[in-house]
Amino acid sequence: MFKKSWIFQLWLLVFIVIPIGLMLLSAVSTFSVLNPTSLEFGFRALEVLRSEVFLRALMQSLKFAGYVTGLGLLIGYPVAYLLARSKSPYKRIWVMALIVPVWSNMLLRIIAFEKLFYPESILNMFGISLDLIGTDFAIVIGMVSIYLPFMIFPIYAVLEKLDPSVLEAAYDLYASPFKRFVHVVLPLSYGGIISGVLMTALPAMTTFALPERLSGGQLLLIGNLIQNYVMRTGRIDLASSMAILLLVVMVIFYRTLLKFDAEGETLV
């Protein structure tokens, strides 16, 4: 017991507490890993959080994360439901078909979409020519297809575990199939829905490769801003300020979601 918690705490310290501490420090001082001795505190870097470019990126990120999560839920829940209820002998193959794409490199899949979305693409073979690069549609399609499995699996896992006799009990107690869904199946899958929403919305908030490729470099989401500040202009302080704000937004989002989970225990 003691040993385990010791390892866990060390892990927490090295991979969470120290990095976040360094980020905080970079945001409010001139701290740099390369030159740690010259330390001057100031809140100038936080000014970036009021800049127009940041606020626009934040709104865009929220917008796309919202689309992707909403659409993901709309598509993902029925898919998970059908999959979990299915008695087909090919069920495992369907589940595999959803897993396999996740194994392939995400960047590779993004680039594949990019190629298809330009007017000149392999689709010309079929007489199709798309011109989607730079549209919101392209971003949403790309994001949904990449994050959908992360919506489906937590929901599927919960639905799969539903006790069949509980479902029969609902029928026994005069619930029609629709009422049973509303009063029993849906409440019992809240945990899966919340996990799915978290696993979709949070990565969607921070993605940077996908918007860059599928917008032809025009769309700036928070992920792109942070990446630019770190990789191109070396402004770690500005990047840290934004990352910390993002962290706060996501923690608030997470806490709010947990409140919706009536029992607060379905999600581990």
């Binding site: 029969e168 009990a169 029928y171 026994d172 107690l173 005069y174 619930a175 029609s176 019992l188």
Partner: protein, 342 residues
């Protein structure tokens, strides 16, 4: 007037025939028990009545109307599931209220009925408890309350007490029977515990391998088993091959005995059943003489194994014996139950 009629029901799963031409009826307010060994088709029969399986052949009728095309949520029948199947996301009150809410009863009526049925199963004060904070016995009561609150015509119970320990089980047997009498609900009760069946039922339906072997009152089934299987299943028994010499005259172990059975052919081969508690042992010689082989104390009585020749007899007696004692076996004509050798 029969409340429920089961007519020539057949049901198979892939290659197993779970129910093979099953017929019986249930009267209003009757406590009917389906009794049989594991895998004999009890649950399947109950699920057919509840509407959770479709039958292959035959008919199931409630008040003379076929139930075949009626889904479970439209049947005036409720089930107490073996593992209770309570709704884990609802508290005790809302579990019990579920059926009434689905039927859209007014709120105050629901509140009233729920509280009344919680009182009936002695769960008052627990209405706000979460399901995972209940003991096994309490869950069982919630499952009961959740079913009876709907005042169904028929209540189906699939081994509702199987998960409870012996003492609680006996307590609940008494309570269930009492509840059934007070509410006037017809019970169809599944168990593989013969003692439970004997104490609670008005009628017992003994099943084996998808078939009904015998239907009767507990006393009939116990005293007049029609087949060896029923005799064995209903409790420890001595079953001895013999033949009917004439009405009221049976021969076994090379001796003639007066009995109360008649209507057999002359010299028809039969099996004779004598219950262990119907045999008394004497030290003097008699017609059947044997040697005590083993004595086990069972609390209320001693279980004594006696060998008569090569045949083993089991006897229940309140008087102990010692291994090696020479004894004779005695029984009244009423203790001799003759059944056809099938």
């Amino acid at each position: 007037m029969h409340l429920i009629d089961i007519k020539n029901v057949k049901k198979g799963f892939n290659d197993t025939l779970a129910l093979d031409d099953v017929s019986f009826y249930v009267r209003e307010n009757e406590f009917v028990t389906l009794l049989g060994p594991s895998g004999c088709g009890k649950t399947t029969l109950l699920r057919l009545i509840g509407g959770f399986e479709d039958l292959d052949e035959g008919a199931i009728e409630l008040n003379g109307h076929s139930l075949v095309d009626i889904p479970p949520y439209d049947r005036a029948i409720n089930t107490v599931f073996q593992q209770y199947a309570l709704f884990p996301h609802l508290n005790v009150f809302n579990n019990v209220a579920f059926g009434l809410k689905m039927k859209k009863l007014p709120k105050d009526v629901i509140e009233d009925k729920v509280m009344r049925s919680l009182a009936q199963v002695r769960l008052k004060g627990l209405e706000n408890r979460r399901i995972d904070q209940l003991s096994g016995g309490q869950k069982q009561r919630v499952a009961m309350a959740r079913a009876i609150v709907n005042e169904p015509k028929v209540l189906l119970l699939d081994e509702p007490l199987a998960a409870l320990d012996l003492k609680l089980r006996q307590e609940m047997q008494y309570e269930l029977k009492d509840l059934q009498r007070r509410l006037g609900i017809t019970f169809i009760y599944v168990t593989h515990d013969q003692e439970e069946a004997l104490t609670m039922s008005d009628t017992i339906v003994v099943m084996n391998e998808g078939k009904i072997l015998q239907i009767g009152t507990p006393v009939d089934i116990y005293n007049e088993p029609e087949t060896k299987f029923v005799a064995f299943f209903i409790g420890e028994s001595n079953i001895i091959p013999g033949k009917m010499l004439a009405d009221y005259q049976v021969e076994f172990e090379d001796h003639q005995y007066v009995c109360v059975d008649h209507g057999f052919r002359k010299n028809q081969k039969v099996n004779v059943v004598i219950r262990p508690e119907d045999i008394t042992l004497k030290k003097t010689k008699g017609q059947l003489n044997g040697i005590v082989d083993a004595v086990t104390f069972k609390g209320v009585h001693y279980e004594i194994i006696v060998y008569v020749g090569k045949r083993e007899y089991i006897i229940h007696s309140i008087y102990p014996k010692v291994k090696g004692d020479k004894v004779s076996l005695h029984f009244d004509p009423e203790a001799i139950h003759v059944m056809k050798d099938v």
